[in-house]
């Protein structure tokens, strides 16, 4: 099954709406709690990244019986050096964003830790595509 969500850049209030919705679906599909938690945390971090850095983004969720694939495309500044951005503590978030409790530089590292396969494509000045797949088996 497929689910789609839209994210507005700068809308911190609604960051997490998609991860909540996906969580509900996975609970109804009887996915083990620990697996749900990984998906939800990784998606939440991705949502916050889009809200913090991009003007808008789209989330596409594909759920199969044994796995979930999430693709998040944004129109944003892109990531010039993905390897560096993956390091814990690396952040380009503005002071304002950090004061709101976001942008601590844990985003991509958290996504990596909570996903089974992670693929990031980015074109500086245009945007980023984050795609990750998680196992849903019991």
């Amino acid at each position: 099954m497929m689910l789609d969500y839209h994210i507005d850049g700068g809308d911190f209030v609604n960051a997490g709406k998609a991860s909540s919705a996906v969580k509900r679906v996975l609970k109804q599909l009887n996915v083990p709690a620990k697996r749900i938690k990984r998906v939800v945390i990784a998606l939440y971090e991705t949502e916050v990244n889009v809200v913090a850095h991009a003007s808008k983004g789209e989330i596409e969720v594909v759920i199969e019986p044994e796995r979930i694939t999430l693709t998040v495309k944004d129109s944003g500044p892109g990531i010039p050096d993905i390897n560096r951005a993956m390091q814990e503590g690396f952040t380009t978030a503005s002071k304002e964003v950090r004061e709101m409790g976001f942008g601590a530089g844990m985003g991509l590292a958290n996504i990596k830790r909570n996903s089974d396969e992670l693929h990031i494509e980015s074109i500086p000045g245009k945007g980023t595509i984050v795609r990750f797949t998680n196992d849903l088996r019991d």
Binding site: M1, S19, Q28, E45, I63, P65, E66, N114
Partner: protein
């Protein structure tokens, strides 16, 4: 009322009285776990989902939801008759009625011993400290004080069951402790009857069908409303003397306020938070499930607004109860005087066994079947109006869609869908009457009445 065991194995304290129920949907729409449906003009409680919070009981306009309790006369089956009294019971009475009169009244009603439940709070506190000391303990540690919250976590937040602190609540610790004390004085266990005067439906259910322990140490539960009426009558008619209750006078402020909001959280180490009201708790836990590091060490969660002062069996105003208890706490000492009496935390006596998750959310145990149902559910949600009118007998449009995919309801139970079907000629007025009669009850069906 006698104890009844349900077919699902979950014992509930809340029962719908069909003769009184008018099928009005008030209870169904306030239920935090969507455990109620209306069929044939009567509310039905889905046992696997009910957490015994008592919201339905508070919302019912015709008092059709009964809270089970034991017969007061049962106390006379025992030679030693102990009343377990929570401090919130004392907070029910106007300040001019002293604790001594309340306790004197309980004795003249037949109890031989009166025990302040909250006198064992220090034992529970020691248990918490032991529990959180374990480096393997999941953070935040969640208090298992409130039985409705324990059940809410079991059915709705299975990922958080391991966060629950495996320490019994004060009422159980008090029952175990005082039973042992009496046995040490030479009484047989069968001679000792421990009766808990409770403000709480979930507490009654948890004593009748315990979570995390094989059998409760409490012999019976007595509805606080019932006790309040009986006692106030005695006191008003000056039929009781004042009992000297040195023990109670020595309850310190921490003990008096333990069952109030922030009663526990203010005494725990680290970053502690208190949330009351079951909807607030649900919202908070939804958020907690979605973050990696909450940095919260301890969570006090209570199902009732203003915690036990807002219990379903509390007759007085909850804010006045809190105020009275605060005043009593202000007059009491801060330090515990009788720490030595309660002894130290015994992990074998006062710990809970592992609490099991029993999620009610899965559409099907088989993933493939669950996905089929999920797809159908999404399709149904596009058709249903989304106004959550509850006229179909389910609490929301989404709940109706879930009931349909589970084979427990039909799309035509929705009045909007019905209207479409009638216009298309797919449903006759007679068929629609039949459907509505099966939801609202035959005598409430306006179309059949007008004939």
């Amino acid at each position: 009322m006698k104890q009844t065991e349900s077919h699902t194995g979950f014992h509930h304290a809340l029962k719908v009285v069909d003769e009184l129920c008018i099928g009005c949907t008030h209870c169904m729409t306030v239920c935090p776990t969507q455990a109620i449906r209306v069929r044939d003009g009567k509310a039905i409680i889905i046992e696997e989902r009910c957490v015994d919070c008592g919201n339905c009981c508070k919302a019912c306009p015709v008092s059709a939801i009964l809270i089970e309790q034991d017969d007061f006369e049962d106390i006379f089956n025992y030679a030693v008759r102990i009343a377990l009294v929570p401090s919130v019971f004392i907070g029910q009475f106007p300040s001019r009625i002293r604790t001594g009169e309340v306790f004197g009244g309980l004795k003249s009603l037949g109890f031989t011993h009166i025990v302040d439940i909250d006198s064992v709070v220090d034992l529970v506190q020691q248990g918490y400290e032991e529990f959180v000391k374990n480096p393997a303990c999941d953070k935040p540690a969640i208090s298992s004080f409130c039985p409705a919250i324990v059940r809410l976590i079991q059915v709705r937040f299975p990922s958080l069951v391991d966060n629950l602190i495996a320490v019994k609540p004060p009422s159980d610790v008090a029952a175990i402790h005082y039973r042992k004390l009496m046995e040490d004085q030479g009484y047989e266990s069968t001679e000792i009857g421990i009766f808990y005067i409770t403000p709480c439906a979930a507490k009654i259910a948890s004593i009748k069908s315990p979570v995390g322990e094989a059998v409760s140490s409490v012999n019976g539960v007595i509805n606080m409303e019932y006790m309040y009426n009986k006692l106030l009558h005695l006191i008003m008619n000056k039929e009781v003397g004042t009992e000297a209750v040195p023990d109670n006078e020595r309850l310190n402020s921490k003990e008096i306020l333990w069952s109030m909001t922030r009663g526990e959280s203010e005494h725990q180490a680290g970053r502690c938070l208190a949330v009351d009201g079951i909807r607030n708790v649900t919202e908070f836990l939804e958020g907690l499930e979605e973050t990696e590091d909450s940095n919260i060490d301890f969570l006090e969660l209570r199902a009732c607004d203003e915690s036990c002062a807002g219990g379903v069996l509390i007759s007085g105003n909850r804010f006045l109860t809190v105020e009275r208890l605060n005043r009593r706490a202000g007059e009491a000492s801060i330090e515990s005087v009788k720490q030595s009496e309660a002894g130290s935390f015994d992990i074998n006596l006062y710990s809970l066994d592992k609490i099991q998750a029993r999620s009610m959310l899965a559409l099907d145990p088989d993933r493939n079947v669950a996905m089929e149902k999920m797809n159908k559910l999404e399709e149904l949600l596009k058709v249903l109006p989304g106004i959550d009118c509850a006229a179909c007998g389910s609490p929301t449009c989404r709940a109706l869609a879930e009931d349909i995919v589970q084979g427990r309801a039909q799309p035509t139970w929705c009045v909007f869908v019905q209207e479409l079907y009638i216009r298309d000629g797919r449903l006759s007025l007679e068929e629609a009457d039949e459907i509505n009669g099966s939801i609202w009850g035959k005598e409430r069906n306006y179309r059949s009445q007008s004939k």
